[in-house]
């Protein structure tokens, strides 16, 4: 199946054509945002990391920033650095240039402070934007697509309608040769045996068990009942009683496809088909990790209603809760409550959601894009030092 996308020099295909202003450290966020705000078509990626990180933590942040810079929705990148942070702004620029995209770097300490850096950055980004406007959509294959699956602010409708619906679309995308990323490791606790039986190899099964065990053991070290954090207070109000119940609902997003691979947070998968990324259940960090792992679009279910988006990838919001579909309708792209009430079959609603996905990757904006949502969060491993 074909769609119209932006072909990149590295062979990947974008569904958006963003000029990215990437902050390499929290200290450069304000300058990055001001630069992006001054140029239409530019987006800022700001975050709270980049300093005081150690070992695997700095590696993970760096991997995330590198991945965001070369996401195929990105046409060109300006990296904004303070000048003394632990994350490497040069490495991001090198990786971006290696992917064939234009890349530049400004340092606040070298430019002479906030105002001078904003001014220098705006000039660079304006030129990048003019160049990016020359690129047009071309025919591409749907197998070039990586679709992220996410649930945030879940209630009991998520597991019985919105998530199975996403599972239906996920299976269809896998059938068309696309990559689909399932994440949120804590939301596999109590349902890992379902995944265990449908992996590509015993090694993949072992990795699934390992990441779930690791997150459960980590949580147990806090000497508290996971309940109250997972499921969250909002999940509980929405009828979810235990992590096992939440996990069973969460896994419905992955349909019935075979798990090909398990990747680390923000790692770009090497296989097409269904892939698991080891991320927290916290939706903003999870989406950021999957987008850094190359996803161009996100299918995001919510039963309680959440407005969050991404600066890089369009996020399609789906709810199975009829009250949220009407009360928070400006934040919802797809109303799946007809599946909850039984008025519409999974197949019929699935076909509609599939068409919605095609329309969004072809350029139609999602609610979170229209409203300007661009939340980001890079997950942490260790303490700040």
């Amino acid at each position: 199946m074909k769609f119209m996308g932006y072909k990149r020099p590295d062979g990947s295909v974008g569904v958006r054509n963003h000029v990215l202003v990437l902050s390499s450290v929290v200290c450069a966020n304000h300058v990055s945002q001001r630069i992006a705000d001054a140029v239409p078509g530019a987006v800022a990626f700001c975050h709270s990391n980049g300093g005081g990180l150690l070992g695997k933590d700095i590696e993970q942040t760096q991997r995330t920033l590198d991945g965001i810079a070369i996401n195929s929705n990105v046409a060109a990148v300006l990296v904004v650095s303070l000048g003394c942070e632990g994350s490497s702004a040069e490495r991001i620029v090198e990786k971006t240039k290696a992917s064939g995209r234009p890349a530049a770097l400004v340092r606040i300490q070298e430019c002479g402070g906030t105002t001078a850096t904003i001014k220098a950055g705006i000039n660079i980004v304006r030129n990048m934007y003019e160049k990016s406007m020359e690129q047009e959509r071309e025919e591409a294959d749907i197998s070039d697509l990586s679709v992220s699956l996410e649930c945030g602010g879940s209630d009991a409708t998520s597991g019985i309608s919105a998530n199975p619906l996403v599972g239906w679309v996920s299976d269809r995308m896998v059938g068309l040769g696309a990559t689909v990323i399932l994440s949120e490791t804590p939301e596999m606790i109590g349902a890992e045996h379902i995944l265990f039986g449908r992996t590509a190899s015993p090694e993949v099964s072992k990795k699934v068990i390992d990441i779930v065990r690791s997150v459960e053991e980590g949580a147990n070290l806090m000497n508290v009942d996971l309940r109250g954090t997972q499921p969250t207070p909002g999940n509980i109000e929405g009828g979810l009683s235990t992590i096992e119940e939440k996990s069973m609902g969460c896994l419905a997003k992955a349909g019935s496809s075979v798990v090909m691979e398990v990747v680390r947070y923000a790692e770009i998968p090497s296989s097409n088909g269904l892939v698991i990324m080891d991320t927290p259940g916290f939706d903003v960090e999870s989406v950021t990790g999957m987008v850094a792992g190359g996803s161009q679009v996100v299918l995001f279910t919510t039963g309680r209603g959440t407005p969050v988006g991404s600066p890089i990838a369009p996020v399609i919001k789906i709810t199975g809760n009829p009250d949220v579909a009407s009360w928070m309708r400006e934040n919802i792209d797809f109303d799946a409550s007809t599946v909850t009430t039984g008025e519409e079959s999974l197949e019929r609603a699935g076909e509609k959601l599939f068409q919605k996905l095609i329309s969004v990757i072809s350029g139609n904006l999602t609610s979170s894009e229209i409203l300007g949502h661009s939340e980001t969060g890079i997950t942490r491993i260790g303490p700040s030092l």
Binding site: A156, T157, L221, I236, G239, S241, I243, E244
Partner: protein, 97 residues
């Protein structure tokens, strides 16, 4: 059954709870796929919450999706609200170490 009468879903035939697909009032009969007649919700409950189909003794499994989603921690009667007050999770229990 008229689709408008349906107020709950029994996700799997093995399940001993149903999930409400709309809010229900106290004494409202549970109506949905594979739901035996005569079970009334003992309280008014919002959408998404669970109601027991049968008596469940403390320590017994709570089944939804045909899978174990927790264990009863007190006697649960048919029609009872099944939630955090009467079921516990078997996973992520750092408090039990």
């Amino acid at each position: 059954m008229d689709i408008k009468e349906i107020n709950c879903i029994r996700v799997h035939i093995k399940d001993n709870v149903v999930t409400l697909i709309r809010e229900v009032s106290a004494n409202e009969e549970m109506k949905g796929n594979d739901v035996p007649p005569g079970i009334k919700s003992l309280s008014s409950l919002p959408l998404g919450h669970k109601v027991a189909l049968e008596e469940i003794a403390p320590g017994e499994k709570i089944l939804k999706y045909g899978e174990v989603i927790g264990y009863a921690c007190e006697i649960i009667k048919p029609g009872d609200h099944v939630h955090v007050h009467n079921i516990v999770s078997g996973r992520g229990r750092g408090d039990l170490k």
